[in-house]
């Protein structure tokens, strides 16, 4: 699948936005100004971006507790997200959802999700909706290796196959479910599980944007053409803990440093496009600067923004009262 310069630039900008967004939250969270807790996606940018680059606003994704990257990749406004994470009135969810529940249905973002394994059944529904309404749309569940062990996921793999839904299950396998290694908690393999439900599975290097992009493109095309569901098993790594404040003592010493140095998806992207002379470093530096400015503004605005009004406590729970 050929990407033009503009596509490449957009993809790079998306990955860079996610990275800066998360790195900045890592810093800001430590100040104590952000309520609750956040789960950072830094390190995994190629996955969300490689998949969502193919999607239209009327394609739906369901995300996870580690959802900021999926939101940004699906086009949710960065400022609205930042407001939301700070619990501000002007957040995309009016300050009622927070980091784990950022959603924007107008952008096809069916929500980050605080329940591990919550998304796959929802995505079966979104895919069914697309199929019945004949929109040509697809629906994509992002889930982690932890969620791959939930009954909801396994039931959804079956249902998607039984109904031949235009659904894709992107298993973002970062090696850890909270503090437990997937080598301990996942029996068999993701590919074998998919096969068990009659579904193709592609193993993908999640540090490589182009690999994800290609595999996702094939799966999405297949789904749009009525070919049914696919699993993508994306192997990647998170740079931070399960949540902010997790000391990650369960990881090997130097593990993250080595990943950052050797495999980082942004570095690899930059190397690839500059080596191929598709872009030059100056252009990419300009993107980096623009993104840095955007995040700076977003954080500054969010800190200055108003909280929800007390009366907002009682609104939005039912459509009619």
């Amino acid at each position: 699948m050929q990407m033009n310069r503009e596509d490449l630039l957009r993809a790079y900008r998306t990955m860079r936005t996610i990275r800066d967004f998360e790195e900045r939250l890592h810093v800001e969270f430590a100040t104590g100004e952000i309520p609750g807790f956040v789960h950072l996606y830094a390190g995994e940018e190629a996955s969300a971006t490689g998949v969502c680059t193919h999607l239209r606003d009327d394609d739906f994704i369901a995300s996870t507790h580690r959802g900021h990257g999926h939101c940004i990749a699906k086009g949710v406004e960065v400022q609205g997200m930042m407001h939301e994470i700070y619990g501000r009135r002007d957040g995309v969810c009016g300050g009622k959802g927070g980091s784990m529940h950022i959603a924007d249905l107008s952008k096809g973002m069916l929500g980050a999700n605080g329940i591990v394994g919550g998304g796959p059944p929802l995505i079966c529904g979104a895919a069914l909706s697309a199929k019945i309404r004949k929109t040509g749309g697809v629906a994509i569940a992002f889930l982690g290796d932890g969620a791959s062990n939930q009954g909801t996921t396994l039931e959804s793999l079956n249902l998607a196959s039984v109904w031949a839904l235009p659904a894709i299950f992107v298993v973002e396998d970062n090696g850890y479910a909270e503090a437990t290694s997937s080598s301990y908690s996942v029996a068999g393999s993701q590919a074998a599980r998919a096969a068990g439900f009659g579904m193709p599975c592609t193993e993908v290097d999640g540090f490589d944007f182009f690999a994800v992009h290609e595999a996702a493109g094939a799966a999405i095309d297949r789904a749009r053409q009525g070919g049914g569901p696919t699993m993508l098993h994306v192997k990647l790594a998170r740079y931070y803990g399960h949540f902010e404040g997790d000391a990650t003592t369960y990881r090997a010493p130097g593990e993250v440093d080595r990943l950052r140095a050797e495999k980082d998806c942004l570095n690899r992207f930059r190397a690839r496009v500059t080596e191929a002379a598709l872009m030059d470093g100056v252009e990419l530096d300009a993107v980096d600067q623009a993104v840095a400015d955007e995040i700076e503004v977003a954080v500054r605005n969010a800190k200055a923004a108003v909280m929800p009004a007390e009366a907002d406590l009682l609104t939005d729970v039912y459509v009619q009262y």
């Binding site: 069916l110 995505i123 069914l128 909706s129 309404r133 909801t152 249902l159």
Partner: protein, 340 residues
């Protein structure tokens, strides 16, 4: 207008709404039956035949037999509701809530609030509830208090065929997730039901009779029993108001309080287990808001706090009866609040 059973009323409501709105679909285990099987299609039409006959008109695109995977298909119904369809998912026995509750209360119920009011989740989950079918502990519960507890869900419990049709059409047209609970013992009860589509609004209690002495609040199947008891009590000179809340969420607290203000005595009949059920909820409401009006202690007529038993004599002893309601009303007629 003709006599229709509770079952027919529900079937007719589904059929009329599916004709009116192409985004209405039905999914559930054996809602048609026979999918992929060599024999009859629409073999079951739901385990008790409520959706029978819809397959022929609407086809398998809109009448979806599901695998036995409540989490997947209830969640799929929620996802479909948030993305342009108006699904009616059948959970068969409400007891099966246990294997899909997350999708109902963490997902569907929360979308609208959690997403800042920007999501609509026009989902109906139909399920059978209630004892009296010799179906024992895992197929007989009255779990509406659990749903009622969850903000974001509307909970509808029709007490008769007329109520069932109007409330189901209202449920399908509502933009929030609605739990629609059908008492399995009522399926064959009949009454006059209009042929046309009609809606009964939520949160408006129905006074099936008005009296001077005692207010009986009864839910679902208990409404009929309460009226039976009230008939007998009328012959004893005790005149009862029988109030059917129709929906436990939203709950028509205003009408409950008005009736208690008028009669000064309250008996609540609830088939749900007695701790934290609708009876205790309404008792608390009345104790807080209408204490001054009470001439006698509130009485709750509920099952004992045990699972629903199997043996017919035990089950009969478990379910509130008209006789127990009658006795409770008699007891509040003689009881007096102690003078301060």
């Amino acid at each position: 207008m003709s006599k229709k059973s509770y079952r027919q009323a529900i079937n007719e409501a589904l059929r009329q709404e599916m004709r009116r709105d192409p985004t209405v679909i039905i999914m559930g285990e054996d809602v048609a039956g026979g999918a992929g099987a060599p024999g009859e299609q629409d073999a079951w039409g739901g385990v008790l035949g409520v959706t029978k006959g819809l397959l022929a008109e609407f086809g398998r695109d809109r009448i979806l037999d599901t695998p036995l995977s409540e989490s997947a298909y209830i969640g799929a119904a929620a996802g479909a509701a948030a993305t342009g369809l108006r699904p009616v998912a059948e959970l068969m026995f409400v007891d099966f809530l246990g294997v899909c509750f997350d999708q109902i209360f963490n997902q569907a119920a929360k979308f609208r609030y959690m997403f800042g009011g920007k999501a609509r989740t026009p989902l109906v989950i139909r399920a059978m509830y209630g004892a009296g079918f010799r179906a024992a502990s895992q197929h007989s519960q009255s779990l509406y208090p659990i749903f009622t507890h969850i903000p974001g869900l509307k909970v509808v419990i029709p007490s008769s065929a007329y109520e069932a049709k109007g409330l189901l059409i209202q449920s399908i047209r509502d933009d929030d997730p609605v739990i629609f609970l059908e008492h399995k013992v009522l399926y064959d009860t009949e009454e006059e039901v209009p042929d046309e589509a009609y809606t009964i609004p939520f949160g408006e209690a129905n006074l099936t009779r008005e009296g001077r002495d005692v207010t009986i609040v009864a839910i679902g199947r208990m409404v009929g029993l309460a009226n039976e008891a009230a008939d007998r009590l009328a012959k004893q000179g005790i005149s009862c108001t029988v109030l059917d809340p129709r929906t436990t969420s939203p709950l028509d607290t205003a009408t409950i309080l008005e009736c208690v203000e008028e009669t000064g005595r309250l008996v609540i009949v609830d088939e749900a287990s007695p701790r934290c059920n609708i009876a205790t909820d309404i008792s608390a409401l009345v104790a807080q808001e209408a204490f001054g009006a009470l001439k006698a202690p509130i009485r709750m007529v509920c099952p004992p706090h045990v699972p629903v038993p199997f043996a017919p004599n035990l089950e009969d002893a478990y379910v509130p009866s008209a006789a127990r309601i009658e006795a409770a009303v008699q007891s509040v007629m003689v009881a007096q609040k102690k003078a301060a």
